[in-house]
């Protein structure tokens, strides 16, 4: 979804949509309306919005377990996403995938850490080989730096000129594991060691993320070679639901200092921001209610459960 930086309210709206969606998820999980688990994006909204504002129709997004924000920033329908979490037939994948396994247009996600990176690399290569000039946005977290498949992908992407933008969202924690006990050495060096230029930014401000992402997206598109964007960010919520082991103060501090919605709200006049919030609120509530009312999928075609 292409957003212009000229219009701060469009960014604000996109940030609010993710926030509101995720809050609705967390609020309603205890009511038993969703299946499985969820990983919310609260606090990281500016990454998805700032980066995917550069996503063109021919581009591809491959996301991970924390995919709601990416999906919505890509232009995904909140109703279909709610429905997917509820296991409804109207869900993004008809209820088969659930929270972590989405596919819509050129958007994909999978719940196996690291495993998506070679797949995304292959997509990028295939598109380039077919004469397109796409950018394949691939989102990973800091914890995913532990997986070997990532490095195989970096090597292959570099050698074979796969137009991938690796977006590393370093929220400094993986489930409950702080980054400093899980990631040795230097993050940017892990990309540059494979010949992939990497840039870092420590910000929750969509207006800082947007231009840097744009620069790298342009480089990927023009050179059809990979780049890495490392976004140091903050996860406000639990890993999934109620499993946050960090101190309340630390979280409060992050919320005060690093809320992408606050930062962007300051650029929109009060009246407008109230208006946007209430519109988004209504949109998300309506999507949620609609999904609730949707039917469950019918019995799926069966092959041999018993022989």
């Amino acid at each position: 979804m292409t957003i212009s930086v000229q219009d701060p309210s469009a960014f604000y709206r996109a940030l609010c949509r993710i926030r509101s969606f995720e809050e609705t998820v967390l609020e309603n999980f205890p009511k038993g309306v969703f299946f499985g688990t969820t990983h919310t994006y609260i606090g990281q909204e500016a990454n998805a919005v700032g980066v995917l504002a550069h996503c063109q129709p021919q581009d591809i997004v491959f996301s991970n377990h924390r995919c709601h924000g990416h999906f919505l920033a890509y232009g995904g329908d909140p109703h279909a996403l709610f429905a997917e979490l509820m296991g409804k037939s109207t869900g993004v994948c008809g209820g088969r995938g659930g929270s972590q396994h989405l596919q819509w247009k050129n958007f994909y996600s999978n719940g196996i850490q690291g495993g998506i990176t070679p797949v995304a690399t292959g997509m990028a290569l295939a598109e380039r080989l077919q004469g397109h000039s796409p950018v394949v946005f691939t989102f990973i977290g800091d914890g995913t730096l532990g997986e070997g498949a990532l490095y195989e992908s970096l090597n292959l992407a570099s050698l074979w000129h796969a137009p991938v933008l690796f977006v590393l969202e370093n929220n400094r924690i993986a489930q409950t594991t702080p980054v400093d006990i899980a990631v040795a050495g230097n993050m940017a060096a892990r990309f540059s060691a494979f010949g992939i230029p990497a840039q870092e930014l420590d910000s929750s401000d969509v207006l800082e993320i947007y231009p840097l992402a744009g620069k790298l997206v342009d480089e990927v598109r023009e050179t059809q070679t990979p780049r890495a964007l490392i976004l140091h960010t903050c996860r406000f919520g639990p890993h999934s639901k109620g499993d946050d082991t960090r101190s309340e103060e630390a979280i409060e501090r992050m919320k005060t200092q690093r809320d992408p919605l606050h930062l962007q709200a300051a650029r929109v006049n009060d009246e407008q921001s109230i208006q946007i919030r209430s519109e988004i609120s209504a949109e998300i509530a309506a999507a949620f209610q609609a999904a609730l009312a949707d039917p469950f999928p019918v019995i799926h075609a069966v092959a041999g459960s018993s022989i």
């Binding site: 969703f34 299946f35 499985g36 688990t37 997917e84 296991g87 409804k88 869900g91 008809g94 209820g95 088969r96 995938g97 659930g98 929270s99 972590q100 396994h101 999978n110 719940g111 196996i112 850490q113 690291g114 914890g143 995913t144 730096l145 532990g146 997986e147 070997g148 993986a174 489930q175 409950t176 594991t177 006990i181 899980a182 990631v183 499993d243 082991t245 469950f296 999928p297 019995i299 799926h300 069966v302 092959a303 041999g304 459960s305 018993s306 022989i307």
Partner: protein, 343 residues
Amino acid sequence: MTTVLESLNHALHTAMQADPGVYLLGEDLLDPYGGAFKVARGLSTAFPDRVLTSPISEAGLVGLASGMALRGLRPVVEIMFGDFLTLSADQLINHAAKFRWMYNDRVRVPLVVRTPMGGRRGYGPTHSQSLEKHFLGTPGLRVLAPCDLGDPGLLLRQAILEDDPVLFIENKLLYLCRIPSGKDLADLELTTLNPDSAAAPGLDAQTYAPAYTLRMRGAPPARLTLVAYGYMAHLARQAMVQLAYENEIFTELVILTQLAPFTIQPVLDSVQQTGRVLAIEEGSLSMGWGAEIVARVAAALGPRLLASQRLAALDSAIPASGPLEAETLPDTAAIIQAAKKMV
């Protein structure tokens, strides 16, 4: 009454207490979190130096633990979801399980890899599978699965004491099952066998991996043998009781805790009487554990095997949506239905 989870957790405490060479490795193990399914709870507090919470590196972790095992320690690796075991496949199959035999029996690999399998929680296609079938039949690799009878913790402790690699398959829903008391099982006759488990090349016989046979107390001769393990054994026990009381179909249930290598004898002992066998598992049907059960029974009994069937998950990925998932995985009702068809 203890749950399976408590029993396993307690066993880890006991094992680490008893032997300073026991280490626990895995993702997100530290208290207060204590691992995704809480089997590790309290351990990092009690043994801060011996609980190694790790990066997300399933292959590296299993390989590293094999190395520790080769050099005198007794590592226990927790793989957060059994679905991720695929990432350690090479380390398990081409390294840990091979070392002893290929190095001419001069090394030992006292490694335990524990992992929760199973669905029914709506976690979707990559977090709900029962993938143990892909690892059964790996030469040099013992595969154990606790059930809610006997002492699941003892099974784990024995696995840790063993000098060969063990894959220890837990089930997410089994964790919360309570281990029934004698009174709970009053309607049932329970025989516990501790078969001299098939020693295979590269593996010694193991000391505690019981097989259980359950019958309805005072019932007429059973006409069908159910065979199951793990959480499916729990469901099969329910089915057995229901079949007896509601349908007057009497069955015997054989529960194995050692899936590979294993001896079919306890199953044969029962099927020789009943003539019919139904193998029940939560993994997908084709090339599952049940195939090995049926094949061994068929080979041993020939035409005396009157009927054999398997009940398993559909041969499809496991959907996140509750109603779809329920259709995909076998439950008590499905066991009852399959049993009824067979007698």
